[in-house]
Symmetry: C2
Subunit: 190 residues, 2 copies
């Protein structure tokens, strides 16, 4: 998606060879107009899949998922990361390793809101090693729901997340795929 | 806002005398159509305030803030709760006590995205003791930005959050104000 790529080139900041900061428009300050264009594009890519619900994980996936859900006319469900007194004990959960934070965490979804009849689109801001998406696919499978696809804003194409998800038989679409990046030479999209 | 009150009566679940679970439509599974109606109402209430940015805190405020932002045509900025390698070190921060989790946590906003010229609408899902909102007001004040108002989905009117915020000279609007609730007798709105 050209608009997102141009915005990454304009406002993204690279740190070293693997960290891309997009906190100006995507995951801290949020450009809602951009998210609407991204939501339309996700809808174009997945509109034939009869999606019944969009699943994401807190916190930075929520904004993209909610704006996109307006085009699909479906609810959003976001997995919670932290143990919370206010979440039902009756949950599906999956353990996810965060390379950013260098630790495991649990993601959890109440069993009430994920049904065998659900056809799920997973949406997240980044895809790198795919751990969060694989955890969400695991949760769909526990519920007997169909994980139809994974829609990603920015994919680090040089990492293996896409391969691991596609091996599960789940379609992956990313709006911007980075082939390589470096703070000196910049970003190359595929 | 009648639509929200009716939805709380239909799908909210009370636990004891102080916990209201709205995870079916507001802070776990999210009804985007409802959020759009809430966004329109926030816009009606704050449209004359020349809002330049909506500020919220992760995670459950993000959805409401982003949908509402479409009516104001402004960006969203969400304060982060956890220390994150990907957040700039150059931040405004405020300490917030969570009664739900019974501990202090820090909320942080990058200095780059909050300016003295900003007129801020703070949006969150719940108002009870007002700690999160007061932390966000504190962050606005650190930046020299104007905290114009606080827009809340559900206020526990029997707690003192509103009073503490209004003492700061900041307008509070809540779409549903609960006067009392109890799992046996139900919810009374003001």
């Amino acid at each position: 998606m050209e608009l997102l790529k141009q915005r990454i080139l304009k406002d993204g900041r690279i740190s070293g060879t693997d960290i891309l900061k997009v906190d100006m428009f995507l995951n801290h300050q949020i450009d809602i107009d951009l998210l609407n264009e991204m939501g339309k594009e996700f809808y174009r890519l997945f509109q034939s899949w009869d999606i019944t619900k969009i699943l994401t994980v807190e916190a930075s996936g929520i904004a993209i998922a909610c704006i996109a859900a307006q085009y699909f006319k479906v609810p959003v469900l976001f997995a919670k990361k932290c143990e919370s007194r206010n979440l039902d004990s009756d949950v599906y959960q999956s353990k996810v390793y965060s390379f950013t934070k260098e630790k495991d965490y649990l993601i959890r979804v109440s069993k009430k809101y994920l049904l065998p009849s659900d056809r799920i689109l997973i949406i997240d801001d980044f895809l790198a090693n795919g751990r969060a998406a694989l955890g969400l696919i695991d949760i769909c499978e526990q519920a007997g729901a169909v994980p139809c696809g994974v829609g990603i804003a920015i994919e680090k194409g040089y990492q293996r997340g896409r391969k691991l998800i596609e091996e599960k038989g789940v379609k992956v679409e990313a709006l911007a795929v980075i082939d390589s990046m470096d703070e000196h030479t910049g970003i190359n999209f595929s």
